[in-house]
């Protein structure tokens, strides 16, 4: 009993404990900072504003996918279908635009395609309680299959200038995809922290049964979670189409893995219930800075893959060590 009291009294929180907490919160930010400093020293072009905007622009698609992936992983699930969703959404939105649909409507339709694909994933995960890995492995295959079926396997060239703006345009000298990314993260930050839905995501990820017993609508929340991941994949598909001036059925292969890697680097736990969206963007940037730096330094592309892979494993290792304390 006395030990209880002692343990809980605030004054006992030691400096060591404090610094550990701070490191836990800032761990990946510190790693990103170190990485940036190293790049500034070894790669002189790194700080050019054009280079920095390029890094951000290139990582924007992964970042948007990773935002949805974070929410899914927070519930203890996984979404392997985002790359295929992206492809299907890019194809459908471009086809609609070319058929004369106003650009804005075509783009919204692309996002809606993603939303529906995600809702189906969510339903299958929540109601018949299928493992999300299997459900999204299936949809990863059939969604891409659909993209091929619709286009006959060929890219569809995009005509609309307005549409191209979302992927290749600039506002005040900053590429549009960066704005999209920023808006997505601001909204997701608010959703996760300041809405009931967001808190329910954490509750379900931590302990689904306890959440159910607390009166949380677990199934409905899960369907929303996968729908959001799908929606964001749809948005990425639209941005991608605008950037490539075409809808391509083969685009986005392996993007789900980049997104998962970013989430993991951000320290979100695969068990669910622990993690933050702002950490995911750090994870995205770590990979982006690393890749960009290595490219500036003319590191062989194949070696880049090796380094990226090792960095991810080390990050997970750090995460494991951290959760043990």
């Amino acid at each position: 009993m006395n030990t209880n009291l002692q343990m809980s009294s605030p004054s006992v929180v030691s400096f060591k404990e404090r610094s550990k907490q701070i490191f836990n919160q800032l761990g990946m930010v510190i790693i990103l900072a170190i990485l940036i400093v190293v790049m500034i020293i070894v790669a002189p072009n790194f700080t050019d504003s054009s280079n920095i905007l390029n890094v951000l622009k290139q990582s924007s698609i992964t970042a948007i996918l990773a935002a949805g992936m974070t929410v899914v992983i927070l519930t203890g699930g996984i979404d392997l279908s985002v790359g295929s969703t992206l492809a299907l959404s890019s194809v459908i939105s471009v086809l609609l635009s070319n058929a004369g649909t106003p650009s804005v409507i075509a783009m919204l339709a692309g996002a809606a395609v993603g939303y529906v694909a995600g809702a189906i994933n969510g339903f299958l995960t929540a109601v018949p309680k299928l493992p999300s890995f299997i459900v999204t492995l299936g949809s990863m295959t059939y969604l891409r299959g659909l993209a091929y079926v619709i286009t006959g396997g060929y890219p569809v060239v995009l005509a609309s200038k307005q549409f191209k703006f979302i992927g290749a345009g600039e506002i005040l000298g900053i590429p549009t995809p960066i704005y999209v990314m920023a808006i997505v993260y601001i909204i997701m930050l608010i959703v996760l922290k300041y809405t009931m839905f967001g808190r329910h995501v954490y509750a379900i990820g931590g302990n689904e049964e306890a959440a159910h017993l607390t009166g949380i609508k677990v199934n409905r929340t899960l369907i929303h979670v996968y729908s959001i991941s799908g929606l964001l994949a749809g948005v990425s598909g639209v941005v991608m189409a605008g950037r490539l001036f075409s809808g391509q059925p083969m685009v986005g292969i392996g993007f789900e893995l980049d997104a998962i890697a970013a989430v993991v680097l951000g320290g979100t736990s695969f068990v669910g219930g622990r993690g933050r969206i702002q950490a995911t963007i750090i994870g995205v940037l770590i990979v982006a800075v690393l890749t960009n730096g290595m490219t500036l330094l003319n590191v062989d592309y194949y070696w880049q893959q090796v380094v990226k892979g090792i960095v991810i494993v080390i990050a997970v290792l750090l995460d494991r060590l951290r959760s043990r304390t």
Binding site: S8, M196, N207, G215, K217, G273
Partner: protein
């Protein structure tokens, strides 16, 4: 009669004359700052059955796990065969001859019986360096035979009954040539006949010189087969000695270590005049598909009704039915005079029913979340303004609940898993107060909670009742039932056996009905 003969043999052999095979001295263990064992001593001798006794949460399992290398002690020493040892993991202890038969069966259901038995030994290889399966099955069959079992070692464990699986567990422990065998409630799921058989095996092992640690709550078993005992209470060593020097009443007294009046006892309430009040909750002939058989009861506002019975009597299932977690197959639930259909916890919560589940960790807490969020999760809707949560208001309310219920926590932002068991339980209870319930269903509200926090929780429950809440409380601890309840219902095998007023209820009477010995 055979049992008494065994007893005599044991008594004339005085194990104290030899050196103990295992001696634990002043063992201490802490979990997140809470001492669960403090200066505990135990000595085991070859060829004895040593009963380890204590209430739930007394530290028996922890002590056993330290003995078997699952946990490492924070203080104290372990001597095995007169040498100080430090087990780093269960494997080390097992290789040295200490095996455990856990309360929960720990077999791999999709492997064969033979593999399960021989798991942990080195598999014999054939000339190609591959596993020699015939050898495994032959050895397993031999071990099984030695305990009088004729199970086919090639069959899958998943095809076995619980009792048969228990036999496989024992066989596995024996395949390792154990010198110390720890059994944690081995008879919990066995029939009388199987228990007899198990006792035969234990006696056989004892005669071969194995030291057996036997954990059980059943007094008759303890007095039947053990020759010495150790009592733990609230993590402290109380006493050890030959079983012949004691009797069941005395053992209970040592385990409980306090008279009833040392516990919290709720003040009598005279205010409930049944005829003038309407019951807030009424069950008419309620059954689920399996465990609950036609239970009718009424609960009035402001009263605490204790639900007593043995584990497995259907108490938890009854409460789960009321909360919409199990399907109601027959009967009616009436709330404030109106029949209701409760299909899910969401329905129940809407009707003002709150439920504190049996298992805090698995069902009650939202891990990784702060104390604040655990407190307020059930009522998040009320904190929304334009769909956004108002943290200012949430912080204020969280502080209020923490203060009102005396939750000891560093801050409201602290991760709830860092709290002690008692404080976690306060959080789980407080979670429901925020929705302003009419009925509070409590399932073992103080399990695994230290005695001080227990009293505090009892006070909280009592205070809630005074505010007009109707409380239905399941408890397996009779002093708790007697100290807190205004009225006691006893359930046996899914049926309501007795309703006792606070004045007429005694531990003996409750046990009498709970065990189903109704002869009157």
């Amino acid at each position: 009669m055979a049992v008494f003969q065994v007893q005599e043999q044991i008594n004339c052999r005085l194990p104290e004359s030899q050196l103990p095979i295992l001696r634990m001295k002043a063992v201490t263990k802490k979990f997140s700052g809470v001492k669960v064992l403090q200066n505990v001593n135990i000595e085991l001798y070859k060829g004895e059955v040593h009963a380890l006794m204590g209430e739930n949460g007394a530290g028996k399992s922890t002590l056993m796990k330290i003995m078997a290398g699952v946990y490492q002690p924070d203080g104290g020493t372990i001597e095995y065969k007169s040498q100080e040892v430090h087990w780093n993991n269960p494997m080390e202890a097992r290789n040295k001859g200490i095996s455990v038969i856990h309360q929960e069966i720990s077999l791999s259901p999709n492997l064969s019986i033979g593999e399960n038995i021989m798991m942990g030994t080195t598999f014999k290889k054939n000339r190609l360096g591959l596993i020699n399966w015939n050898d495994i099955y032959e050895n397993a069959a031999q071990v099984l035979k030695s305990i009088g079992s004729s199970l086919d070692p090639r069959a899958d464990v998943s095809t076995l009954s619980v009792a048969q699986q228990q036999m496989v567990e024992i066989a596995r422990a024996l395949s390792l040539n154990s010198e110390i065998l720890i059994m944690d409630e081995p008879t919990a799921s066995l029939t009388d006949k199987e228990i007899e058989k198990l006792f035969g095996i234990i006696e056989e092992l004892r005669r071969k010189g194995v030291a057996i640690v036997y954990i059980s709550h059943r007094m008759d078993e303890i007095f039947k087969i053990s020759n010495r005992f150790t009592v733990l209470r609230d993590g402290h060593w109380v006493t050890s000695g030959p079983i012949s020097d004691t009797n069941p009443e005395n053992l209970v007294k040592l385990m409980v270590g306090r008279e009833l009046n040392e516990l919290f006892v709720r003040e009598r309430i005279e205010s409930i005049v049944r005829s003038e009040q309407k019951p807030v909750l009424e069950l008419k002939n309620v059954s689920d598909k399996k465990y609950v058989k036609g239970i009718s009861l009424k609960i009035y506002p402001g009263e605490i009704v204790g639900l007593a019975g043995l584990v497995g009597a259907g108490r938890t299932e009854l409460v789960r039915t009321i909360f919409g977690l199990s399907e109601l197959s027959e009967g009616q639930i009436i709330l404030d005079g109106k029949p209701v259909h409760i299909k899910s916890p969401i329905d129940a919560i809407k009707l003002g029913i709150a439920h504190v589940p049996e298992s805090r960790k698995e069902q009650g807490l939202l891990p990784n979340l702060s104390v604040k969020e655990n407190l307020l999760m059930a009522q998040l809707p009320t904190y929304r303004k334009f769909k956004l949560l108002q943290y200012k208001q949430m912080n204020r309310d969280a502080d209020r609940y923490i203060k009102e219920l005396g939750v000891r926590t560093a801050s409201k932002e602290q991760n709830v898993m860092g709290l002690s068991g008692g404080n976690q339980q306060k959080v789980v209870i407080a979670k429901w107060l925020s929705i302003g319930p009419k009925i509070l269903l409590l399932d073992e509200p103080t399990r695994g909670v230290d005695i001080g926090a227990k009293t505090e929780i009892h006070k909280i429950i009592s205070k809630l009742a005074e505010q007009g809440l109707a409380v239905l409380m399941i408890s397996s601890e009779l002093p708790e039932i007697l100290g807190v309840s205004d009225r006691i219902l006893v359930i046996h095998e899914g049926k309501l056996r007795a309703e006792l007023s606070r004045d007429e209820a005694t531990q003996e009477k409750i046990m009498y009905y709970a065990t189903g010995e109704v002869k009157q």
